[in-house]
Symmetry: C2
Subunit: 262 residues, 2 copies
């Protein structure tokens, strides 16, 4: 059982912030789940407790879904443990499995919350192109073997930049009362070569993301890239604020929480 | 049980050659093993049999070790199955797990053997640098967090180019009667950025590789990069033809059979 007394937690001496990377393939998402499910948070809290000699309760910048990855997830927690911040990454590597890595640790102000203090986030979505898949990349990408019109996808993504109601891209059946307005600062698409594979990467920097928003944007952008809909259709669907017009959510394994800004 | 009649196999109508990529993490190497071990060859032979309606026995260019990966492994087999070569990659993707991919298929001459016809091979070895590991890359790289002198490593690799006796780099306890002379055409080192990680890649193109040769070359080159030995020591150890002078074999997960030339 996890402790529930948030006030007692805040009486602890330190607020520690970590930048965490993980391969989400084998986890039921980031957010803590009761066994037999294993989320990244379960593993982090259990293993970090050994280093800090404290019960650990994390707050995280983003609750990534099952199968979604992170390069720059940020978490924080209150502790009386005495290990210096600069020694935390190596100490963590001794207790964590290889698919979860603490990249960086720092002392944070008592008022800092990885969740509530976040100003914006960057998500990457990777698409593996070509007739054949690539086993060195396909854990982290959506394989699409049909041709994609990258220039049309770039134009579609530009339409999203600015402050808008993103209801069309929210999760089907998701929380209806949440404010659906977000600001997208940039939405780009570029090619990368990764392990010999031809990868197309969509990079979205926004003030925040509705649940499934990044993957639903990718799904509709891919529909444009495959010429299943035109840019005018893309604009209409975006303006309609109706989730039912967007194709099925793009697969989880292509998505990666790349960076969080505070 | 596997059939053993190689002559009967050659009476079949087609000789099919495949280029295969795999993530070797979860396999006991490439070469067929009796259960409960699962090698890449076990999976390929069992699953391809479903497509060809034939028993399949593969010959492979390289018997990669447990945990070693491949981007361009080449295999061939004799079959009476009728599926056209150009449809094999997609048909294979329907029956293979995601960590094994048939990248390309072609009809080969009856005398072609993926093993015996190979003229040369390229192996890559990837080193993940920096204080923290990276879970999107560490399945495919050796994490070394201490500084490496890349220029010294480059000089060490240059020493290996040419036709030499590579006994110092053979497997400890390996077959003593094998001819230890090979030709290295090139041995390079360069930086790559993969999934945000700083990766150092060693690329060796040789007429052939003794068992463990690539990983033992990497181990001794890393000793130079860490200034544990100098270039003169490297030369002496190479000339001594004595495996016991080389440090422990570099970890399997950094190695990848990149390309085979015929």
């Amino acid at each position: 059982m996890r402790a529930e007394n948030k006030f007692a937690m805040k009486l602890r001496r330190r607020n520690v912030a970590l930048t965490v990377a993980y391969d989400g393939t084998n986890y039921s998402g980031f957010q803590w789940q009761s066994p037999p499910h294993v989320a990244v948070q379960n593993v982090l809290e259990e293993r970090l407790a050994k280093i800090f000699g404290d019960t650990i309760e994390l707050a995280a910048a983003g609750r990534t879904d099952a199968g979604v990855h992170a390069f720059g997830q940020v978490v924080n927690f209150f502790t009386d443990g005495t290990i210096p911040a600069e020694k935390i990454p190596i100490a963590a590597s001794c207790v964590l499995p290889p698919d979860i890595v603490v990249r960086h640790a720092r002392e944070a102000d008592k008022n800092f919350s990885a969740l509530h203090s976040a100003k914006s986030k960057i998500y990457l979505y990777r698409i593996l192109r070509g007739a054949a898949s690539n086993p060195l990349v396909n854990r982290f990408a959506w394989h699409i073997f049909r041709p994609l019109d990258v220039e049309a996808m770039r134009q579609a993504l530009k339409i999203l930049v600015g402050t808008h109601d993103f209801s069309s891209f929210k999760a089907a059946g998701g929380a209806p009362n949440m404010n659906p307005v977000r600001e997208i600062f940039s939405a780009e698409i570029f090619g990368e070569e990764l392990f010999g594979a031809d990868v197309l990467t969509i990079k979205i920097h926004a003030s925040g993301f509705l649940y499934h928003m990044a993957r639903n944007i990718v799904a509709l952008t891919v529909a444009v890239g495959r010429h299943r809909i035109g840019l005018d259709d893309f604009k209409k669907i975006f303006a309609a604020r109706d989730r039912s017009l967007v194709p099925a959510t793009a697969p989880a394994q292509g998505l990666c929480l790349q960076e969080v800004f505070y």
